[in-house]
Every structure is written in C-alpha cells, then in structure tokens.
Subunit: 229 residues, 2 copies
C-alpha cells in the first residue's frame, strides 16, 4: 500500500515540470506551447504519432532513415531528416522550446546518447523515453528521464490479460491483476535503479517486493471470493 503514493509523487513531478499547472489544466491550451518532439520515427514512435494526430496534437519528428520521411509527411507533421543524437538536429527541431521530447529510437546506445545530449543542453525539457529492458531503464532513470516505458512491458501485460481471461478469469479481475502487477513492478524498478550496483541489496529488494506482491494478490483473492456470485 505504501507503493502507490510514491508512483503518484513521481507522476506529479512530471506534470509540474511539463506544464507548470498540474494534470487538471484544460487540453485546448496545448497548441499555444512549444512542440512535442519525437526523436526517432520507427515502429514505436509511429504509433505514438498516430495517436497524437488522432487527437489533433501537433508534433515534430526526427529520424535518420530517409524512407520514413514520406510516411511522416502523410501525417502532416514536421519532419527533420537527420540523426537525433547530433546537437544541430535537436537545435533545428527547436528542442529548447519543446514541451517534451519522446525518445523512441530502437537502439540502446543511440537512445542513451540522445537522452544525455538533451539533459546536458536542455535540462528544462522533460524527456519521455522508450527502454529496451530493465538495465536500459536504470540508465535512463540515472540520466534523469522523467517517464520511462519499457518497450515490451505493456504488450506482455496485455498478453497475460488475454491468457487469464481465456482460462476463465473474469475480465475485471484480469484487468486488476495486470494493473497491480504494473504499478508494483514500476515502483520496484524505480527503487532498484537506486541500488543497481549493489548485488546484495538487489537480491533483498527482489525478495521483499515479491513478498509484497504476493500479499497484494492474496488481498485480491479475498476480494475475488466475496465478489463471486
């Protein structure tokens, strides 16, 4: 139960840095501010871009692969063709005035290079980053990225949800199970990032988080029982 407030704290800090007014601000003020910049426009950021476009939120994309330029133009988005790990490209895309940058490139090294560059030159601009795995996520946390989304994590949870429903778990329970797991695992990730070089502490943390998760799920099981008709 102590984990949830930590997560909210992290999220609140992000919102404050991002727009200075918290999450309850009206949505139609978005266009008045600087651009949202998508660094990389491959499989990951294309989906992000399509969602933003659906909600008429403008964005600027940077990508070093020429074959993606036409695709981006079809979106009516600004595209800067070039390597987003070069400072000139970031400058051309007006990252200094960006509302936030989404680093969604495929490779770990390229991702780390871009995040370092933004944090060094534009420390006031929030960085939302795609992570390959836990190790990459730890590095991104250390570098000061505000929001980190592990690239397979949420799709794996969706698969787990589908499987639990298919074997007979009620849809609401399966949904609650993956939400609990997600919040718990993200809190664990944030904690473990602070002790990543301490094997002993990492092991102890894994054990205590596993026990906590089991306790949470046992509470759920009792609720499940009461809810069953």
């Amino acid at each position: 139960m102590a984990l949830i407030p930590i997560l909210f704290l992290i999220r609140d800090q992000v919102f404050k840095q991002a727009d200075g007014a918290g999450p309850s601000r009206e949505f139609d003020e978005v266009e008045a501010s600087g651009p949202i910049v998508l660094a990389g426009f491959g499989r990951f950021n294309q989906i992000v871009g399509r969602v933003l476009r659906s909600k008429q939120i403008p964005f600027t994309a940077l990508d070093s692969a020429p074959e993606r330029v036409d695709f981006v133009r079809r979106f009516g988005a600004k595209i800067f063709y070039g390597d987003p790990s070069r400072i000139e490209i970031l400058r051309a895309a007006r990252v200094a005035e960006a509302r936030l940058v989404i680093v969604g490139v495929d490779g770990v090294e390229e991702s780390v290079a871009i995040v370092k560059l933004i944090r060094e030159h534009y420390p006031h601009v929030p960085v939302f980053a795609r992570a390959r795995d836990r190790e990459h996520a730890y590095t991104l946390i250390e570098l000061g990225a505000q929001v980190i989304v592990r690239e397979l994590f949420h799709s794996s949870l969706e698969m787990a949800r589908e499987v639990m429903v298919a074997v007979g778990m009620p849809v609401v329970n399966a949904q609650r199970a993956i939400e609990r797991f997600r919040d718990h695992d993200e809190a664990q990730l944030r904690h473990q990032a602070t002790i990543r070089d301490d094997d002993e502490a990492l092991r102890a943390s894994a054990v205590s988080f596993a026990a906590e998760l089991e306790r949470l799920f046992n509470e759920d099981a009792e609720e499940d029982f009461q809810l069953t008709p």
Copy 2:
C-alpha cells in the same frame, strides 16, 4: 460503432475454443486442465510468466537458451530446454494436451515456424502469439493464431497516454483515447489481413478506417466538451 461487435466476436470464439464454457467460468478450475505452454522465455514471455505466477497459474516454458533455465526454475515452473520449433520438444512439453500455447519468441522466422508446427500437429490447441509488426501479424492471422499481440503496440499506447496527460488532457480522456485507438486499430488489422496482397484495397481501407477513427474522436471531443466543468 460496427467495429466493436466484431472484436467481441473474435474474442468469444477464442474463449469457446479455449475452454468450451465461455469467460464466466470459475477461475479455480484452471489447474484441473492441461498446461499453459510458453514457447520462448525471453523478455516478452518472462513478464507473462511472472504475472501467471503471481496469480498461481501453473505453466510450462520452452527455451533454447541455456542461461535462462535457472531463471525459469526460480519460478518453480517446468522448463524444457530445447528449440520450440522442433516437434520432439513440443511433444515433450505435452502441447497436445495444452490449454493454450503462448508463442513469445523474438524472431519472426522462428515464431512463424513454431506457429505452423502447432497448427499442423495440434490444430485443436489455441495459439496466442507475439507479433513483431503488422506484416508478421497478418501472417499469424493467416496461420490461424487466435490472439495476436504486437510487441510494441501496447507500450507505444502507454507512452501516448503519458504524453497526452502531461500536456494537460484529463486522465480519463487520455485513457479513453488510447482504448478507442487500440480497438479501432485491431479491427483494422483483422480486416487488412484479408486483403494484404491487394494494394488498391489496402489503400481504400486505410482511408476509410482513418475517416471512421476521426469520426469516433470527434464524437469523443463533443463528449469531452460536455464533461468539462
């Protein structure tokens, strides 16, 4: 609006094939049935396995990488060390009696080989598959996989949700936006799989689905307006 029933139809068929009794069946009967088999135990299926374990749902894992065996044993799960695209391995894991198989390997070719093998030898066993991208998903649909989860899709949607909230959209609206986008895109994927070799029809479908999505989002925008205090 016509899209949602199609999705439910697909899902209902899955449930019926998977357990013969629909999604309202009680969850504690799971252990009485055959195993859930995880083909591959890399980044994707490890998360699936951890969720299943949290809910005390037993599973069997197959993986060809020896360094993962210890990791799986820590889960208390059965592990078969071997290439899941070989029929002897599938036989050893009792796929014939499996409740369902989750094909979560990393490579497209290996994934397609495993799904083909299961569909050929065990056509009664539902296949839940991880897809790399749309093209891979089309192939998996053609092969008869029942549930397909694109590996980056749900994480990209999560990133889009975080971004929309950070720029001031109320949390419930951002959540609804990604759910609409997800349902719409999955229906589009199922439809486009049937016309994948017809460029003209694919283009027409992309245009009509984009218009449909815009209409759905415009309806949302009107609701948003009424809901704003």
